[in-house]
Amino acid sequence: MRLFFYYVTHSFLNTLKKLLKTWVAVFLVLAVGGAVIGGVIGLVASAVSKNDDPEQNTSISVTEEDEEPEDDDEIHLEFSLGKNLSEVMKKYGISTVDVADLAISVLFLIVLATNVVNAKSSGKIFQPADVTMLFASPMRPQSVLMFRLMCTLGSSMLVSLFMLYQIPNLMNGAKFGFWGALSCIVVYMLILMFSTLVQVTFYTITSKFNNGIELTNRILIGVYALIGVGFTAYITISKKELIPAVFGYFAGPKTHWVPFWGWLRGITYYAVNGDLKMSGIYLGLFVAACFLTIVFIWKMKADFYEDAMFAAERKAEQLDNAQRASNGATVIREKERKGSIDREGFHFGSGANVFFYKAVYNRFRFATLKIFSKTMIVYLLLAVTVSYVVKTYATGFADLFVIPAAAMGIVAFYRTMGDPIREDTSREFFLLIPEKGYAKIMCSLLGCLAVTAIDLAVPMVIAGIMIGTNPVMVLVWFLFILSVSFFATNAGTFIALSIPGDHAQTIKGVIQIMFLYFGLGPSAAVVIAGVLLHHLVIAVAVGAVMNFITGFLLSLLLPLFLGRK
């Protein structure tokens, strides 16, 4: 334990020290300063309101009562999709807590399956330095595993803290109370913790048996097949429609007793319904079960060093490759490329715009039949599947196109995480080419944007045709997604260039998410306003312009950091 605390405290403080040598220091000072000023204002406001006379308080309460009809008016302005959705929910007797229950249920089942399947690669939990320093030490293998498990769990918890920003959203959007909203965040954190625990538990079990991986995979397939058979039996016997059957089977309060799966759902279900005692009991049960799982891992005498050593060596190799790439070296591919790939067709651009043409040329060069890139295939599948499902099951809804557009937007957004134009900015020749730094960065960014546009265009049109929406609506959503991608790419590049080194990837990720959250927030607010005021097309177009402008302003800062990487 002493070793764990020594490592954790020193690693954390050193990471902060490194970050404080960058602009993050200013960011933190502003954040802390803002919090202090906000706190002071809050205290002053509270003190002033306490000093007010009782009559005034009465008048305030009267005013609040008077305002209630205005709230009703706002409800009338509700987006037709939301309105129809609430009608469907009313029709089947589904409440928001049922939706939360189902979401947790499905998330749990996905997390469980993916982590059991990925258990074989859990050796990657170890740092390369763990092998040479801790594996060789007189520590028990379980102690080493526990040390790294605790570090990973702590890191997951730290990263998930940023989700606390979602509490106001849950309170306003889903109309949850504070404890209900908080319980959703707690459940999210517990799922993160659970996913690591599941992976390590199955990793420990499988390393004990010769054919452990095949055995657990078979058991997993069996369990999920049973769930599927159970659902089929349930829907047949109960003769329910699909939607109420899904809620009844996967989010029924009667199954809250089921260990882990039910307990997690119980935490939110009872917190939202105001029964904090029951919520606390389920939380206690879940935490206790996690603790017992840790004890189980601790007691399991498994020999996983060999597998973990090779996993750590592969990780070290990947890190080394990434390091080499960031220093401008070329990383050798493990898999040879296809012979059919065009190898001598690049004859475009001059000066800085070669970076633009390179991105676009490579997009076509590596795509199947020079059309279907992997990203485009994902967009196509999403467009077709989501549009079909929406069209089939959400009859009577207005503005359906928003759903496939949002699905594709989320994928486009996540593709920009990290450092999207690292391939260019990491090369020594990027600096050496005698062009203005800004021109080179902008060409590279536009190349990235053009590739997104090429991948996205056809799926957007297909979704538009399937749903039968207005072409202008398709166009503005297309531009909006591109604008989000443009801003997010700028933000990712800014963080990558301005915080040097490969350290603190987790904290960099959190900062990037905060950047995106606050940077894209205004345009999201405009879109929501458009939804409420029934002027969605204009609002989405304005939102797109806003994102392009903020992205452009951010891009002006990029050349300042280019040479420092």
């Binding site: 020594y6 020193h10 050193n14 490194k18 320093m133 060789a136 060999e306 050593m309 070290a316 350290h503």
Partner: protein
């Protein structure tokens, strides 16, 4: 004493070590030689307990994978791996805590001074050059002062001063009765130090010879290596030595 008995290790269908047996006597310095892919790193990683294998490896009669055995074993890997967010001195402190050492501060100071890392105490793992990382790697391996030390290519990436210092240190450890097992390709670097050499090829031990056995013949360690691995002047190498020692040590 470290005993390796009939150790066989396979990676899938690839036989990396085939029925390897030898013994390391206390206070001796054994050099492990062999061409690339001979199985040197595999046998070292098996001894330190990283790999699963058939056969047995014991440290003073205790299985090498037990905590008790690990207290006596030390390991300096070929490639340094450091934590990017710990400084030089924090790495040393971390290891001292992992090994539950007491009164280690002076020893940390001594090692950092000897390997010229004293002025790099506050540098992070990812701020050190490759050579500096290798020096820290050495200091980390030497800090617990183990009875048996396994060194995998310890001279790799070191500057001349560090090589000289390492050789001096090895000599001091030998005089202090420590058992040393060094795997290397740089035969010259250990020519003056060794007591016994084990030459591996194709996963098997091809020779297990003491310095005394070849001293009279006027051969160097390098001559012996090429005789065994490439068959040059093979007739001058005692077949009895080569085969006899392998089975002798197995007993």
């Amino acid at each position: 004493m470290l005993e390796v008995k009939n150790v066989t290790k396979r990676y899938g269908k690839n036989l990396a070590c085939d029925d390897v047996s030898f013994t390391l006597e206390p206070g001796s310095l054994t050099v492990l030689l062999g061409p690339n892919g001979a199985g040197k790193s595999t046998i070292i990683k098996s001894i330190i307990g990283f790999l699963k294998y058939q056969g047995s490896i014991t440290v003073n009669g205790v299985n090498n994978k037990t905590t008790e055995a690990r207290r006596h074993l030390g390991y300096i890997p070929e490639l340094p791996s450091l934590y990017p967010n710990l400084t030089v001195v924090e790495h040393m402190e971390f290891i001292a805590r992992a090994y539950k050492l007491t009164n280690y501060k002076d020893r940390i100071d001594m090692l950092l001074k000897r390997f010229e890392l004293d002025d790099k105490r506050k540098k992070f793992g990812d701020e050190l050059s490759k050579g500096m990382q290798q020096k820290l790697n050495l200091c980390i391996g030497l800090l617990p002062d183990p009875d048996i030390l396994l060194l995998d290519e310890p001279m790799l990436g070191l500057d001349p001063h560090a090589i000289k210092e390492l050789k001096n240190y090895i000599e001091e450890m030998r005089r202090a009765g420590k058992t040393l097992f060094i795997s290397t390709h740089i035969i010259d670097s250990v020519d003056m130090l060794w007591d016994r050499t084990i030459i591996m090829q194709g996963g098997k031990i091809k020779a297990n010879v003491t310095r005394g056995e070849i001293e009279g013949s006027g051969k160097s360690l390098e001559d012996l290596f090429f005789e065994v691995t490439e068959g040059i002047e093979k007739e001058s190498v005692s077949e009895k030595n080569v085969a006899g020692e392998q089975t002798g040590e197995a007993k």
